[in-house]
């Protein structure tokens, strides 16, 4: 995927964007704490997404009027239900981010937070916390983005650091993430598979795959299905309720795939807004 170091360049650009965003938010709200700044940053991003939808619709509308072309208007008319669905989701996201409500994308961090309850956490990478949790005689290193502010962190760095700390002595990695469902599938449905369950621009996925390849560590994925609207709007009850079945599956996976005394990494991937640790 990355023969000439594109990933690191992209990561740098995105880091600069993130810092710039945070600086702008700090200028607008100098009294805000870290969690509030993260929430405001997320709010700003949702507002930008809504504004972009508005600008695109206006562009097609005005272009259609200008050229008197029915086809230009028809293009937007045909996809309007999908655009409206997306716009509604972002409008709900705006509210969720501004007040710090957990969103559907937080399914992974929710599971991780439930697992690390009562255990000491430490910041292992930028905006990523990890806890050592004993599960059925194995040691599970559970990690998630640092909450409760809106944050996805850098789970790739966290996993790589844990692998390095254990000198590659990790039996398996289990990643939990929210994934898009197809129409007809139930929200909150849990599915299992292999590979790095992580979205975004691909930087974190690359880091994880790069780290596991060196030590030939198997990666298992558990996903919680939901549609795009649910992923950015306040968490549905079905998605929240899916956390316990996911934990059951994690425990079953650990029993099936590892031996007593092994080390396991469990990573809850997603935006941890409204979810502490």
């Amino acid at each position: 995927m990355d023969p000439s170091g594109i990933v690191w360049k992209l990561e740098h650009v995105l880091d600069v964007r993130d810092v710039r965003f945070k600086d702008e938010v700090k200028l607008m709200a100098p009294e805000a704490d870290e969690a509030q700044i993260n929430n405001l940053e997320n709010t700003l991003e949702a507002a930008m997404a809504l504004n972009m939808i508005y600008k695109i619709i206006r562009h097609f509308y005005l272009l259609g009027k200008k050229t008197l072309s029915l086809y230009i208007i028809m293009q937007i008319q045909m996809v309007l239900p999908l655009i409206m669905k997306q716009a509604e989701a972002y409008a709900q996201a705006l509210r969720a981010f501004s007040v710090g409500q957990p969103i559907g994308d937080g399914a992974g961090p929710l599971v991780a937070a439930k697992l690390m309850q009562g255990h000491k956490t430490r910041e292992i990478a930028k905006d990523v916390v990890a806890a050592e949790v004993p599960i059925d005689g194995r040691t599970a290193y559970v990690l998630k983005a640092k909450g409760p502010g809106g944050n996805v962190g850098k789970p790739g760095d966290g996993i790589r650091k844990l692998i390095e700390e254990k000198n590659g002595n990790i039996s398996t990695i289990i990643m939990i993430d929210a994934a898009l469902k197809l129409e007809g599938e139930k929200p909150g449905e849990v599915a299992e598979g292999v590979g790095a369950a992580i979205g975004g621009p691909g930087i974190e996925q690359f880091k994880i795959e790069d780290a596991i390849l060196k030590n030939k560590i198997p990666v298992n994925a558990i996903i919680v299905k939901q549609d795009i609207g649910d992923a950015v709007s306040p968490m549905r009850k079905e998605v929240f309720d899916a956390a316990d079945p996911v934990i059951t599956r994690i425990k079953r996976l650990i029993l099936e795939r590892t031996k007593k005394g092994d080390n396991v990494i469990i990573a809850g991937i997603g935006n941890t807004i409204g979810i502490g640790q």
Binding site: P102, Q117, E183, P234, R236, Q277
Partner: protein, 133 residues
């Protein structure tokens, strides 16, 4: 944000003229059809004109109603978000509306039964009755 966009419910005069012409032509077609039916000359043609007349009339009325209709107003309904607090000691549960700064696993408030600090164990959106997807 919408200052520079014209209102969409304005009816174009050009469209009105088209509808009017369409309407008059449909009436003419109907008149011809009725006249030829009364005179009983060319029955096939009179039925064709009758069909064209009614069809044209229906289309012109539909176009007029569509152009006069007000644009749909979309209102976004914000979902109700519920916070559940639980007492770790006596398992007493308290369900209330979400409040700003609530987050899952936050310790807040005291238990009504045993005065122990309660913990937020769940925050989720209340499901709508017709929300099955």
């Amino acid at each position: 944000m919408t200052d520079n966009v014209e209102k969409v419910n304005q009816i174009s005069p050009f469209l009105l003229v088209i509808i009017l012409v369409f309407f008059i032509l449909s009436l003419v077609a109907l008149f011809i059809a009725v006249e030829s039916l009364i005179e009983q000359s060319g029955t096939l043609n009179s039925y064709s004109f009758l069909l064209i007349g009614f069809f044209g009339l229906a289309i012109s009325i539909y176009m007029l109603l569509q152009s006069r209709g007000k644009p749909m107003h979309v209102t976004l309904e914000l979902p109700r978000v519920i916070t559940t607090l639980e007492c770790p000691k006596c398992d007493f549960k308290n369900v209330r509306d979400f409040q700003r700064d609530d987050y899952i696993f936050k310790e807040t408030g005291s238990c009504q039964k045993c005065n122990e600090t309660m913990k937020i164990t769940a925050i989720y959106r209340e499901a709508k009755k017709n929300d099955q997807s």
